[in-house]
C-alpha cells in the first residue's frame, strides 16, 4: 500500500531579549541554577506580570517577515497544568487571539521546486524551567532560570510531506529568525527547538490520520530521524492491522527511536482562559510601520538579488544566503576583491566554508576576515600567485600568520612571470629529458603535463601557469 506522510511543526524560538517576557530577570544562558529566577519567575504569592516591549516588537517583526496578519488586538491566556518546571501552575501563552496568524514561507525541495508552507500562527508565551534528573538519586531538581524566557511558538500548517521537507522548513524558519535578529538560533542551548506532529494516510485520502506529537527536537538531524522513525512505526502499526494512538512521544537520540512520554500519559485539559493579570495587547499601524522600516533584506529577496547581481546559480545563491552572516561575509569579500563575485563565491563556499566546518567556528570568529580573503583573491587576479599557491596562503592566514601579502612575501611565494628566467629553466628541462622531448614531438602531446610538473618542481610551484604553458609549447614544438 502507498502511504502519504503528513507533518506539521511547532517551532519554539527563544526571543533574544535581555530580560524575560514578564519580569526584569536576565535571560542569559548558563547561569548557576535559579540565580536568574526572580520573584515573578518563581510565582511567589502576589507577584504580577508586565509584558516586555521588545518581545512584542520581535514577534511583530517575524509576522511581517512571513507576510502574516499581525493582530491589532491579541490576548494572553493561561494554560493550566501542574508540572514542577511550571512554577505558577499555568503558562502564560496566547490561545484564541495570537499576535501573528496566517503567514507563509517558501522552501526549496530536493528536485529544485519551490513549495509554500503555511504558518497558521505565531504566538508569544513564556518558557518553562528545566528539570535536572541525574543530580540526585531519589529526586528531580528544578532550575527555573529559563522560566519566563520569551518564546515565539511558530505553528505550521500540516503542509509537509516528508522529513526532508520538514527539515527544509525548519531550516528556513531558523534562517529567518536569525536574519531578523530575534533569536540566536542556538539549538544546543535549546534556543530553537521543535515538536513534530506526524501522521500517515493512504495516498489519495483526504482525511488526516491519527497523529502523534514528538517533543523537544533540538537539531535538524533529530527532526529528520525522529520523523522517519515515527513514519515507519505508524505504517507498521497500520499495516499490521493496528491503530495509531494519539499521544505525545519523546525522541531518544541514543536509541534513535521515539517512545511515549510517561508524564503526558494523562489526557490534558488545559482550561485556557484570558489571563486577568494582563490586558489585551494592542498594536497600531504606526508601530507596524516602524517595525517594517527596521526589517533587513530577507533570505528570499537576498537570494534573488545574488542571482541577478552576481550571476550565481540558484544553488550557490541559496548556500550564500543561508545565514545573514554568510551573506554579509560574501558581500564584504566581493567588495574587497574589486567585484569578482564568481571567484569570491568559489572561495567562500569552498576553502572558507570547509575551514569553518572543520574548526567548528562561527563566521564572526573566523581568523580569516572578509578583507583578508579579498586581499588574497586580488593576488590571484593580478597573477602574483596561482590558485594553487593561494590555497597554501589561505591555510597560513587561517593559522594566523598574517594577511596574504605578508605571507606571500615571507614565504617567497610570488610566482615567476619573468619570461627570461622561465625560459632558462625550460631550456634546462628540455636538455635533460631528451627521450620525453622526442616522444612529445612524435605526437604524444599528453607529455606536456610531465614538463609542466618538472617546471613547477623546479620553481616550487611559483611559475605562472599560463605563461609556463605557452613557453613550453613554443619551445617543444621548436
Amino acid at each position: 500500500m502507498e502511504w502519504e506522510v503528513v507533518i506539521g511543526l511547532e517551532i519554539h524560538a527563544q526571543l533574544a531579549t535581555r530580560s524575560k517576557i514578564f519580569s526584569g530577570a536576565s535571560t542569559a544562558y548558563g547561569a548557576e541554577p535559579n540565580t536568574q529566577a526572580c520573584a515573578v519567575d518563581l510565582g511567589l504569592p502576589g507577584v504580577l506580570p508586565v509584558l516586555n516591549a521588545e518581545a512584542v516588537r520581535m514577534a511583530v517583526k517575524f509576522g511581517l517577515a512571513i507576510d502574516a496578519t499581525v493582530a491589532s488586538r491579541s490576548v494572553f491566556a493561561r494554560k493550566n497544568y501542574f508540572y514542577p518546571d511550571l512554577p505558577k501552575g499555568y503558562q502564560i501563552s496566547q490561545y484564541e487571539l495570537p499576535v501573528v496568524s496566517q503567514g507563509a514561507v517558501e522552501i526549496e525541495l530536493d528536485d529544485g521546486n519551490v513549495k509554500t508552507i503555511g504558518v497558521t500562527r505565531a504566538h508569544l508565551e513564556e518558557d518553562a524551567g528545566k528539570s535536572v534528573h541525574d543530580a540526585f538519586p531519589d529526586a528531580t531538581g528544578i532550575d527555573l532560570n529559563r522560566a519566563g524566557t520569551p518564546l515565539l511558538e511558530i505553528v505550521s500548517e500540516p503542509d509537509m510531506r516528508s522529513a526532508r521537507e520538514a527539515v527544509a522548513y525548519m531550516k528556513k524558519i531558523h534562517s529567518l529568525v536569525r536574519y531578523l535578529g530575534i533569536c540566536d538560533g542556538n539549538m544546543q542551548e535549546g534556543s530553537f527547538r521543535c515538536d513534530a506532529n506526524v501522521s500517515v494516510r493512504r495516498k489519495g485520502s483526504h482525511e488526516f490520520g491519527v497523529r502523534t506529537e514528538t517533543k523537544n527536537l533540538n537539531s535538524f538531524r533529530f527532526v529528520e530521524r525522529a520523523i522517519n522513525f515515527e513514519v515507519e512505526r505508524q505504517i507498521d502499526v497500520l499495516e499490521s492491522g493496528g491503530a495509531v494512538v494519539q499521544e505525545t512521544r519523546l525522541y531518544d537520540a541514543a536509541k534513535d527511536e521515539t517512545r511515549p512520554m510517561r508524564s503526558k500519559e494523562e489526557a490534558n485539559d488545559y482550561r485556557y482562559f484570558p489571563d486577568p493579570d494582563l490586558l489585551p495587547l494592542e498594536i497600531d499601524a504606526a508601530f507596524l510601520e516602524a517595525v517594517q522600516a527596521e526589517l533587513p533584506e530577507l533570505p528570499d529577496a537576498k537570494k534573488r538579488r545574488f542571482m541577478g547581481e552576481y550571476g550565481l546559480s540558484a544553488y550557490d545563491a541559496g548556500v550564500l544566503t543561508a545565514s545573514r552572516e554568510m551573506a554579509d561575509y560574501y558581500e564584504a569579500v566581493i567588495e574587497a576583491c574589486n567585484g569578482e563575485a564568481k571567484l569570491a563565491a568559489n572561495w567562500v563556499m569552498g576553502d572558507f566554508s570547509a575551514h569553518l566546518n572543520k574548526s567548528a567556528c562561527e563566521i564572526g570568529e573566523a581568523p580569516v576576515t572578509a578583507s583578508m580573503l579579498g586581499g588574497l583573491l586580488i593576488r590571484i587576479l593580478d597573477n602574483t600567485i596561482s590558485g594553487k599557491i593561494a590555497k597554501e596562503v589561505f591555510e597560513a592566514m587561517w593559522a594566523g600568520e598574517g594577511n596574504a601579502d605578508a605571507i606571500i612575501e615571507a614565504r617567497g611565494l610570488k610566482q615567476i612571470s619573468d619570461s627570461g628566467a622561465l625560459e632558462a629553466i625550460i631550456d634546462d628541462i628540455i636538455a635533460s629529458h631528451p627521450a620525453q622531448v622526442e616522444q612529445y614531438r612524435a605526437g604524444k602531446e599528453k607529455l606536456i603535463g610531465f614538463f609542466v610538473g618538472q617546471a613547477m618542481k623546479a620553481t616550487q610551484g611559483k611559475a605562472n601557469p599560463q605563461q609556463l604553458n605557452a613557453l613550453l609549447k613554443r619551445k617543444l614544438s621548436g
Binding site: 535581555r18 548557576e32 518581545a55 528531580t140 510517561r262 490586558l279
Partner: protein, 95 residues
C-alpha cells in the same frame, strides 16, 4: 447539574487536591448546590454580548527590555521545603 462522587474525584484530581474519602459526598452535595445556583445564568439572553474579561477597557502597558532583578536565590530558597545545590527538589520525575 448535580455532580456525582466520581465526577468530584475527577475534578479534584485535575486540581491536584487530595480529598479524604469520607468528605467526597459532602463536596458532591455542596458543589452540586453551587452549580445549580449558578445555572440560572443559562436562561439569560446574551446574544451578541461581548464577554467581559476585565473591568477596564484598556490595553496592555509594555515594559522596556531592561534587566532590573538581581540574584536573590539564597533568600528565596530559604522558603523552600526542599532545596539542594541551588535546585528545588521534587520526587523523581520520569519523562
Amino acid at each position: 447539574m448535580p455532580l456525582g462522587s466520581d465526577e468530584v474525584k475527577r475534578i479534584a484530581h485535575l486540581a491536584r487536591l487530595a480529598l479524604p474519602p469520607d468528605t467526597v459526598d459532602a463536596y458532591a452535595r455542596d458543589l452540586s448546590s453551587i452549580l445549580t445556583f449558578v445555572e440560572q445564568l443559562e436562561a439569560v439572553d446574551t446574544q451578541g454580548i461581548q464577554p467581559m474579561a476585565h473591568p477596564q477597557e484598556s490595553k496592555q502597558r509594555l515594559r522596556p527590555d531592561v534587566v532590573t532583578e538581581s540574584d536573590q536565590s539564597a533568600r528565596f530558597q530559604s522558603l523552600a521545603p526542599r532545596a539542594e545545590m541551588g535546585l528545588y527538589l521534587v520526587p523523581k520525575v520520569i519523562e
